[in-house]
Symmetry: C2
Subunit: 710 residues, 2 copies
C-alpha cells in the first residue's frame, strides 16, 4: 500500500525522518563484524561481550585502552585502531566519553552504534546536549544509533546478542516469529523474559531507550520487513515519528503481521508519570485509541494480555469468522466462557444439526452438544477424541477452545491429533499447566477467560485483514486552496473566522450549509428573510462574539416582516447595551433547518498525530452524550461511514430515531470533506461544525467555528 | 441491618424461603456425626469416605447394604440401622434411590444431607420429579439438603471434608479467612485449586449443584456469619432466592466482609449456554450489575481476577483513600502502572514535599521521587530499604506497590520489614515468583497490571464500607394505596392507564407533573388553554393510541384561541380519518413545560430481582444516549442522587449544560417516589415517564405510561 504524501505536515519529526539514518539499519542489525567499546572482564562490559562472544559467528573485537585482551580475545585501544570498519559498535563507556566515540566511529566508516550507557537526556542539561551531539552525527552521516540508556538488541537468526537483557548463561530462546520491541530497557527485559516463559518463540529483541536516533516506529519499519518476523510485541511511552508509526502499522497490515502494542502514559495519571520520565508528550489516549483502530494495531491492556495474544497469534492460524467452539466438562464454566466470548465479539453458536446429533450420540444424556459442548463430569472418556475432533471439524465453528481440568497423556494425544487435523486456531485452557501441549506450540492458558480473549484477538485481527482497504493518496486541489486562502486572508489577525466565511470555506469542501444572507440593516434583514422564505434565524456577526447563543447574539424561528424587524432591532440593541464597544460586521439571516438528529463534526490537531476528524452527536447535548469517533485523514468514504456507525457505541445508527443509512452516508461525506480541508490547509488549526442538522435526506451545517493559526 | 418487609413480593422463592430449612444448616455444616451412604472401597464412594475418615474428629459411619465394613470401619445397611440420628448424611448412591433415602433420613431425625449423585433435574422429567420430592422433604421437615449434582463441601475448621473436590492425598489448604462457594461442582474444584495455588487461605468450600434446597444465597447467609470467614469467593449462574441474595450482600457489608462474585450467563451468549445447562433464567446482565453496585458485591471479570482480588482482600488491610504509591526500577513500567491505576479509580499522586525531598536524596540524580518512585537500574541498593520504607510511610499514599524484577533475599527482607512497619495494603509485583514473600501472606502478582487492579478492588471495597448507609424499611401508606387503587380500578382491562390518570397516580407519589385539563370539545379546549395560560399542547386520550407522537395524536406549542381551536379540530379530524373506529376519551390540554434537559424515569420488573427503577436521559434521544442507571427499591434519597450522578457515565451532572445539584435532587426525589410506588403497588407492571422536563428549579413529568398486570 502506498502511503499518501502529505501536502504539508505538522509533524516535527517528518523532515528529520527524511534525513534519517534508516539506510544503514540493515548493516547495524545484521552485522558481520562487531566492536564492543568498553568490553571488560567484569560488570556490564563483560556481560555484553560474553553474550556476543558466546555465539556471534562474525568477527568480534573488544575495545579497551587498558587491556591487551578481554576474555582471551585481542583488544584494541580505540575504534580508530580496529583492523576494520566494523558493521556495528556496542558502546558501554561512561556518558561523557560517548559523543566523541560516536564521532570517531562515524568518521571511521563504522556502520552504526548501540549505546548502552545511561546519563543522557534523562540526566539534565549536560546529558541532553551530549545526546544531541549523537543525534547530529546520526543524521549527518546516516549513522544509525540505538539508545542511549537502553539495553541493546538481540537478533536470534544472526546470533547477535548485543544486550544485557538476556543473561549469558540462559538458554537462548527458541527461535520463532516473535519480535519484542520496547522503549524501556528494564521493562523490556521483563517483557522478554515473561514472553519466553509463556512460550513465545522470540527471534528479535530491541530496546530503544532515549531514542537519540532510532525510535520504536523506525525500528519497527525495519523489523516488520524481516521474513522471520510474523508477530511484533511492542511497549512504548511516547510515539516519536508518528508518520512512520502509521506507515508501519499500515505496512504490517499489508503483510498480514499483527503488531501488538501496550502504550504507557495513556491516562492523565500515566501521562504525568511518563512526562517526568521521558520529558516527551504522551499524547491523548483517545487519539491513540483511534489511531490503533484505524491502522489495525492490536492494543493490549497489560503486558500479560499482550503476551497472551502473542501466544495465539504466533501460530499463524487465522479465523474465517467469529464463531468459537467450546468444549467443557462443566456447564457453569461453559456459560462463563460464552460470556467472555460475547464481550470480545465472538459468538458461541449452536452447532449445525448434523454435528450436534453426532456429538450428542457420544455424550451422556444430560450432556449438551449445543455448544458449549458439555461432556459433564460423568463422561465416558472413550469418546473424548471423537467429541473433541468432531467439534473442531464442525463447519459451525472457526476456532476451538477445550477447557480440560487436568491434561494427562490421553488429553495431550487427543489435542495433538486435533491440532494436526485442523488449521483452525486451537487453544487449551487448563488448571495448572500442560507442558507437552505447550511444547508443540499449541497455546495453553491457565484461565479460561484469558483463553477466550486471546481467541478474540485472533478473530479481530483476522477480520481486520479481510476488511483492510487501501487509502488513496489525497489529491491536492490547488485552485480550491487558492480560493479558500483568499477567503481566509480577509480574516487574518482575528481569533476566529466569521461564521459566514466559515460556511463558504466548508461549502468549498462539499459540506452542505444552511442558506443565509448577510444583512446590515433591519430592512435588509426583512428582505433577506422574504427571499429565504419560511422561518429564519438572526445571528450577530462579530469577532467579539465567538459564542453567539451564550451572549444573546441569536434569535430563532422568526417569521413575517414584523417579527424579523423587531427581532433584528431588539437583538442589536441588547447586544450593544451589554457590549458598548462591540464592532458588528453584519447580521446573518439564516433559514431555519429542521432536525431529527443533530451531529457535530470537527477537525482538531493532535500534538502527536496531527489532524484528527471527530464526529459525534451534536447540539447542546454534545458534552453529555459522549461516544465521539475520531479518524485521521486521509481516509476513505467507507472508513468514514464505519466511523459514523460507531458514534455512541453504534446506537446512533441502530436506534429507531437515529441516522438512516443514507443520512450516515451524507455525514461521512462531510467528514471526508473536512479531512481534505485538514490536509490542504495546515494553517487551519481547528474546525467545529455543531450542529449539522439532519432531517430526511437533508443535512446542513448551521453553525461553524474555524480557527486559523496566527 | 434490618431488611425491609416487602408489602408484596414478586419473588416466587420468598415464601419458600420462609418455610425453608435454614434452621438446621448449622448442624449440617458443622456436624459431630456423619454417615456416608454409598461408602465403598472404590470410586467416589471410597474417595469421599476416605476424605472424611482422614481427619474428621467426630463419629463417622459408612452405610452400605453389601458390606460389613468399609476401609476398616463398621458399616450399616441403611440409615435406619445407624446407631444414632447423625447430624449429616452424605449420599452417593444412584439418583433413583436418593428420594427414599432422604425421606428415611428426615424421618429418622438425621440433621440434613449432602447429595453428590447426578441425574436429577439436569437429566429430564424423571430426574426432575425425584429432585422435587427431595425439595418437598427439605421444606416439610426443615431438613437442609446440599445438591444433588454437586461435589459437596469442606469445613476446614471442623475438619469436615464431605467432598471429592479435594484429592484425599493432597495437603489440606492452609486455613484462613476465605470461603469458596460455587454453584458448579466441576468448576468449583477448579476455582478451589487455583485459589489454593495462588496463596488463598481457604477454610470453607461448598458447591450447591442443582440447588434442590440450599442455594448459593442461602449458603452464603450461613457462611458470612462464621467468625473465621473474612472473604467470600463465589461463582454461580442463576440467582435463586434473590431476596436472600440482597439480604446477604447487605449483611456482609455490615460485617465488613467482602463478597467477590463471578456470574456466568451474564451476556446473551452466556445466558443461552446457562439456560441449556441449568434450565433457570440467568437474568439481565445490566440488572445484575446494578444489584452488585447497590449492595456492595465485588464483581470480577474472571475467576483469575476474583482470586487476584481475594489475595489482596484476605489480608484484612483496607485503604483510607485511593492513593497508590508505586516503586519501580523503570519509568516505563511506572507510567504503565499509573495508567492502570487511573482506569480502576486509583491515583498515583506526587508525594508531599518533605517525603519527596527525603526520597530524592536517596536516589540517583536521574531517578524520580515524584511517584511512581523510579530508582532506575543504576540505583545504589544500599538505599533500597530506606526508599521502600519511606514510600510506604508517606502520608501521601494509602497503599504500596513495588515492582521488583527479581526478588532475592535483600528484597524479601525489605518487604517483610515494610509489611511489619505499616498497616497499609502492600502488594508485590515481580517477574516470575517470590515464594518467601507469598508464604508470609503478602500478596504477590506476576503482572503489574493485575497487582494494580487488585489494589483497586481493595480501595473500592474500603470506600464502599465508608459510604455504607442503612436503608429504612419503607412505610406502606395504606390511605394512598386505597386512593390509587380506586383510580386504577377505572382502568381495569385496558392495555395501559390513560395518561391523565397516570399523572394523578404519579402525583400521589410526590412526582411533579404538568398542569393539564381534559377537554371534550374545542370550546372546552380553548377555555382550558386560557386557564393554563401561555402555550399549550393538545393530546388525544384514547386506549387505542399508546404512542401519541407516533400516531399524530399530539399538537405542541399552540397559543391563542384560534390556534387551539384549529389544532383541536384538525387533530381530531385526522386521527378519526386514520382510525375510523377509535374511541376518544377526551383531549388533554397541557401546559408547555420548558426544558434545558429531558430525563426519563421508569419502573421495570426484572424476572429475577423484581422491581428496578431506571433513570437516564429522556426525550427522543433515549435510545441513542445510553448510560441509564438502575436502582432496586427501597433506596435512600442519597442513593438516588448518586444514581442521577452516574447517568451517562457521570457526564449529565458534570457537563456545563447538564443537571445542577438542585435539579439532580428533584430527579432523585421522583425516583424515590417511583420506588415507593413499586413496593406499594405490585400490580403495577411498569411505569415509563418520558420525559421529565427540567428547567431552572422546575421539573415536571409531561408524559407517562403505566401498565397494570391484568
Amino acid at each position: 500500500m502506498d502511503m499518501p504524501q502529505r501536502p504539508a505536515s505538522p509533524d516535527p519529526d517528518s523532515r528529520a525522518d527524511e534525513l534519517s539514518s534508516q539506510p544503514g539499519v540493515e548493516r547495524l542489525f545484521s552485522p558481520e563484524s562487531v566492536a564492543v567499546v568498553g568490553a571488560s572482564e567484569a560488570g556490564l562490559g563483560s556481560m555484553v561481550f560474553q553474550n556476543l562472544h558466546r555465539d556471534f559467528p562474525g568477527r568480534l573485537y573488544p575495545v579497551n585502552p587498558r587491556r591487551s585482551e578481554v576474555h582471551g580475545v585481542r583488544a584494541y585501544p580505540t575504534v580508530d585502531d580496529l583492523p576494520e570498519a566494523v558493521d556495528m559498535a556496542v558502546i558501554l563507556t561512561p556518558a561523557v566519553t560517548v559523543p566523541d566515540i560516536i564521532e570517531h566511529s562515524a568518521a571511521r566508516g563504522i556502520g552504526g552504534a548501540v549505546v548502552l550507557a545511561a546519563g543522557f537526556a534523562e540526566a539534565g542539561a549536560e546529558g541532553k546536549s551530549a545526546q544531541q551531539r549523537m543525534t547530529d552525527v546520526a543524521r549527518a552521516h546516516a549513522f544509525p544509533i540505538v539508545g542511549p540508556n537502553c539495553n541493546g538488541f538481540y537478533n536470534g537468526q544472526r546470533k547477535v546478542a548485543a544486550t544485557f537483557a538476556i543473561p549469558v548463561d540462559m538458554d537462548r530462546p527458541k527461535l520463532g516469529p516473535v519480535a519484542v520491541v520496547s522503549q524501556s530497557g528494564g521493562f523490556g527485559s521483563y517483557i522478554l523474559l515473561k514472553a519466553i516463559t509463556a512460550g513465545l518463540h522470540v527471534s528479535w529483541y530491541l530496546s530503544t531507550g532515549n531514542e537519540s536516533d532510532m525510535n520504536v516506529a523506525r525500528s519497527l519499519r525495519y523489523m516488520i520487513e524481516q521474513p522471520e518476523v510474523g508477530v511484533v510485541l511492542t511497549f512504548f511511552e511516547a510515539v516519536r515519528s508518528p508518520e512512520v508509526f502509521v506507515e508501519v502499522a499500515a505496512r504490517a497490515a499489508e503483510l498480514g503481521k499483527p503488531v501488538l502494542a501496550v502504550k504507557a502514559g495513556y491516562t492523565a495519571e500515566g501521562s504525568r508519570a511518563a512526562l517526568s520520565h521521558t520529558a516527551s508528550i504522551a499524547g491523548s489516549g483517545a487519539v491513540y485509541d483511534a489511531i490503533c483502530k484505524q491502522y489495525g494495531l492490536i492494543q493490549a491492556s497489560s503486558v500479560e494480555q499482550m503476551i497472551d495474544f502473542g501466544l495465539a497469534l504466533q501460530t499463524g492460524r487465522r479465523m474465517a469468522g467469529r464463531r468459537l467452539g467450546v468444549l467443557t466438562q462443566s456447564g457453569g464454566s461453559g456459560a462463563l466462557m460464552a460470556d467472555v466470548a460475547e464481550t470480545v465479539g465472538l459468538t458461541v453458536p449452536v452447532l449445525p444439526d448434523a454435528d450436534r446429533a453426532h456429538l450428542q450420540s457420544l455424550l451422556p444424556s444430560f450432556g449438551s452438544a449445543a455448544n458449549p459442548v458439555d461432556t459433564t463430569g460423568n463422561f465416558n472418556m472413550e469418546n473424548f477424541d471423537a467429541v473433541y475432533g468432531g467439534l473442531a471439524a464442525s463447519d459451525g465453528v472457526d476456532a476451538v477452545l477445550p477447557l480440560i481440568w487436568y491434561v494427562g497423556e490421553r488429553e495431550t494425544e487427543a489435542t495433538k491429533k486435533v491440532w494436526a487435523a485442523t488449521d483452525k486456531p486451537l487453544v487449551v485452557a487448563t488448571t495448572l499447566s500442560a507442558p507437552d501441549i505447550a511444547a508443540m506450540g499449541i497455546p495453553v492458558y491457565t484461565d479460561p477467560a484469558r483463553a477466550v480473549r486471546a481467541i478474540g484477538a485472533v478473530a479481530a485481527f483476522s477480520e481486520s485483514m479481510r476488511r483492510r482497504e487501501s487509502v488513496e493518496p489525497p489529491r491536492l486541489d490547488a485552485d480550491r486552496v487558492t480560493r479558500v486562502r483568499a477567503l481566509l486572508e480577509r480574516e487574518a489577525g482575528q481569533a476566529f473566522v466569521l461564521e459566514s466565511v466559515a460556511k463558504q470555506v466548508l461549502a468549498e469542501y462539499g459540506i452542505p450549509v444552511s442558506r443565509e444572507i448577510i444583512a446590515d440593516s433591519a430592512d435588509a434583514a426583512v428582505a433577506a428573510a422574504r427571499e429565504l422564505g419560511g422561518k429564519v434565524a438572526l445571528k450577530v456577526l462579530s469577532y467579539g462574539l465567538p459564542h453567539k447563543s451564550d451572549s444573546g447574539a441569536l434569535r430563532l424561528g422568526l417569521q413575517g416582516d414584523a417579527d424579523v424587524r423587531d427581532g433584528y432591532e431588539e437583538m442589536l440593541a441588547s447586544i450593544r447595551a451589554a457590549n458598548p464597544d462591540i464592532k458588528v460586521e453584519g447580521v446573518l439571516v439564516q433559514e431555519m433547518v429542521p432536525a431529527a438528529v443533530e451531529i457535530s463534526c470537527g477537525l482538531q490537531r493532535d500534538p502527536v498525530f496531527g489532524p484528527m476528524i471527530a464526529v459525534g452527536i451534536g447540539g447542546v447535548l454534545i458534552e453529555i452524550v459522549g461516544g465521539t469517533v475520531l479518524l485521521r485523514p486521509p481516509f476513505t468514504q467507507r472508513q468514514a461511514e464505519h466511523a459514523v456507525a460507531r458514534i455512541a457505541e453504534g446506537r446512533l445508527r441502530t436506534a429507531s430515531r437515529g441516522l438512516s443509512e443514507q443520512q450516515a452516508t451524507v455525514i461521512a461525506k462531510a467528514m471526508t470533506g473536512l479531512g481534505a480541508l485538514a490536509l490542504e490547509l495546515p494553517e487551519v488549526d481547528s474546525v467545529d461544525i455543531n450542529p449539522i442538522r439532519v432531517d430526511g435526506d437533508v443535512a446542513k451545517a448551521v453553525d461553524a467555528l474555524i480557527v486559523v493559526t496566527a
